[in-house]
């Protein structure tokens, strides 16, 4: 019995030795982890981002890679689950030995892998987690290895409040928010602050939780009130149903939202007829006239046969943004890449030109998009 155990022990230690050798010797490729919501509640955000990322990596590899080294993406599905995202981040760092991790797309899942990044000194970057405090620790210091290329919620909330007050001349607003997510709470808080400071009033604040399907009671309640706009900070699953039920009950006032509206599922759930007089803040618009954006849209359509949404564009920019920093880094270590990411200035992407500020947030512009019959009809660009 003892002999067998010793044998086993030797076998195990030899294999681990070999495994360690093989993963260390492969330095001709640059491994990047992709940790996204490929299934589950936020699947369309994750899938969209990954489509953009894969397109960018293909382009970079076709052009000879980063300083002659090809990128090898390692992709995992975190099932829209924060705990799973953290487990996968650990696996990517310790087992797959990646140099950086892209994703997840949503604030909650992204936040869960921050401790892994800081501990292992591997930079993580997201294209779409907009939570305000994402890059800060609880004591107010900046997480050294955490980056993002999208604006935060307070900026979205503020821009939409100003837009409602000035462009739509709204004085009274109703809020229907997703109280189960930091996203919904953060956006509505910032909208309320800016809107009331400008002189508007909030008539009512209603709340729901992710997964609800029946909103008729809330809608009937606000139908009897006097208001100009509805602010609906939430994700597409519930937002689509709320818009549908509101329009069915005859509420035709403008409905305002944020980047969570940017999904084809919103159109499926609400129906094209309901999506009129709907505005939302977004990272990018498909009706932009910029030649770089037009080229991206054409290339994307050629590759995937559909128009890119904001998550596709953000994923694309994110991969290019991290690749750009790896190219500039002094060595291929997490620390050097982090320094290069911090030094990014005027990086030109399809979602706008961005520089990284001292809080690891980007300085970039925002779009307010109007939907007509479910299609993007017009967009207004707002600079920070």
């Amino acid at each position: 019995m003892k002999k067998i155990l010793t044998c086993l022990l030797i076998c195990v230690s030899v294999t681990t030795l070999f495994a360690a050798c093989s993963s260390g010797s492969k330095s001709d490729v640059i491994r990047i982890g992709i940790n996204y919501e490929l299934s589950g509640d936020n699947a369309t955000y994750g899938q969209g981002s990954v489509e953009g990322i894969e397109m960018a990596i293909d382009e970079i590899n076709a052009a000879g890679g980063i300083n002659g080294k090809l990128i090898e993406p390692i992709k995992y599905d975190n099932k829209s689950d924060a705990a799973e995202a953290s487990t996968l981040a650990n696996k990517l760092v310790t087992q797959d030995k990646v140099l950086a991790i892209l994703g997840p797309a949503t604030t909650g899942a992204f936040t869960s892998q921050i401790p892994v990044a800081n501990k292992n000194k591997i930079p993580i970057a997201t294209g779409s987690a907009t939570g305000d405090n994402l890059t800060f620790d609880t004591d107010g210091s900046v997480h050294p290895y955490v980056f993002r290329i999208c604006f935060n919620d307070s900026f979205q909330g503020k821009v939409m409040a100003n837009f409602a007050f000035e462009n739509l001349s709204a004085k009274k607003a109703v809020i229907i928010m997703d109280s189960s997510s930091d996203y919904g709470k953060g956006l509505s808080q910032n909208f309320v602050e800016t809107f009331t400071a400008a002189g508007g009033t909030i008539v009512a604040e209603e709340a729901y939780v992710a997964g609800d399907t029946d909103f008729n009671a809330i809608i009937t309640k606000i139908k009897g009130m006097d208001f100009d706009v509805i602010y609906l900070p939430g994700y597409y699953n519930e937002a689509g149903l709320i818009i549908k039920q509101a329009r069915t009950q005859g509420i035709d006032k403008p409905i305002l939202g944020a980047d969570g509206f940017d999904s084809d599922v919103l159109v499926d759930l609400a129906g094209k007829d309901a999506l009129n007089n709907v505005y939302f803040t977004n990272h990018y618009s498909t009706i932009d006239e910029d030649p770089a954006v037009l080229k991206f849209i054409a290339d994307f359509e050629a590759k995937y046969g559909k128009k890119p949404n904001a998550f596709n564009a953000l994923g694309y920019d994110l991969a290019k943004f991290v690749a750009d920093a790896i190219g500039r880094a002094e060595s291929l270590t997490g620390e050097a890449i982090k320094d290069a990411l911090e030094a990014t200035e005027n990086f030109i992407g399809v979602t706008g030109t961005l520089s990284v500020d001292e809080n690891h947030n980007p300085v970039k512009s925002i779009f307010v998009i109007e939907l007509k019959d479910g299609e993007q009809h017009s967009s207004v660009k707002v600079n920070p």
Binding site: G40, A207, A217, T220, K221, G240, K244, Q249, D268
Partner: protein, 294 residues
């Protein structure tokens, strides 16, 4: 007042769904004293069968409704034959735990095949997209459809239970299984039939929810299943009219809490009702006090 009436319509539509599911709970409990926790998942399967009928086979609403009722009926009988029949003489707790196992099996099995992402029902056409107004009160065609189909199914159920031979057998088995068997009633057949009817009703509720809310997912059966269970307990578990009343009551309470109170408390209030009922009148609204025979 208009707002109140509108909320009543919202509540009755929601309550119809709960009532249809609660009927299955209550019938099964009445006949074999089992709380069939897999029942909410039969309702979810009904929604998915309707979805595939309408998208993959391009069938209309009524053929899809019949097919999903049929598929759910078969599923219900299969569950009973495979999972519960072998445990007919086991302890009640063993069967209850089996029911929870079946529930999880269906939920995650379905998730494996159809993926966990929510799906949206195909857009409705013609008359079904209309809404009707009386003053400021809006009825959508789907709400009218839900309420009327529920009423038709309930009348049909009452007819089956009260006027047919198999209905008589169901009542007999629920009253005293051994005596019924001595009178020449096939107990197994009657139990299967009860599962068949209850599951068909859940299937109907599933497809109605699909066209009403437009969004379905593999875990959609959990919450409505639990609320329908509360409805069944409220009306008196095992009593068919009690489940109907309970369903409408829970639907109305939920809507009124969201409409006039705080929308965050509506689920809490529903389960508070369960606790209060169990403390104050455990036999339910229509239940009679029965002494446990020793």
């Amino acid at each position: 007042m208009e707002q109140f009436l509108q909320q009543v319509i919202n509540g009755i539509s929601l309550g119809s769904i709960y009532a249809l599911i609660a009927l299955g709970y209550t019938m099964v409990y009445g006949i074999i004293k089992l709380i069939n926790f897999a029942h909410g998942d039969v309702y979810m399967i009904g929604a998915y069968v309707g979805y595939f009928c309408m998208t993959s086979f391009k069938l209309g609403f009524f053929p899809s409704l019949l097919i999903s009722m049929l598929v759910c009926a078969i599923l219900g009988v299969t569950i009973e034959k495979i999972a519960y029949k072998p445990l007919r003489n086991a302890t009640r707790i063993a069967v209850l735990i089996t029911a929870i196992g079946v529930s999880l099996f269906i939920e995650y099995g379905t998730m494996f095949f159809v993926k966990p992402d929510p799906r949206s029902y195909p857009p409705l056409t013609g008359l079904m997209t209309r809404s009707f107004r009386i003053g400021n009160i809006v009825f959508s065609a789907q709400q009218i459809l839900i309420i009327s189909i529920t009423v038709v199914l309930m009348v049909l159920l009452q007819f089956i239970v009260k006027k047919t031979r198999i209905g008589k057998a169901m009542r007999a088995v629920s009253l005293d299984r051994d005596a019924a068997q001595l009178m020449g009633i096939s107990v197994d057949k009657t139990i299967s039939f009860t599962f068949l009817i209850g599951s068909a009703l859940a299937g109907a509720a599933g497809i109605l929810v699909g066209i009403y809310y437009n969004s379905i997912n593999p875990l959609m059966g959990m919450m409505p299943g639990l609320k329908a269970f509360v409805a069944a307990v409220f009306g008196g578990i095992g009593i068919i009219p009690g489940a109907m009343i309970g369903g409408y009551f829970i639907g109305l309470v939920e809507v009124m809490v969201a409409g006039y109170g705080n929308s965050m408390f509506r689920d809490a209030v529903v389960f508070a009702i369960l606790i209060i009922i169990l403390i104050v009148k455990p036999s339910g609204l229509l239940g009679k006090e029965t002494r446990e025979k020793v």
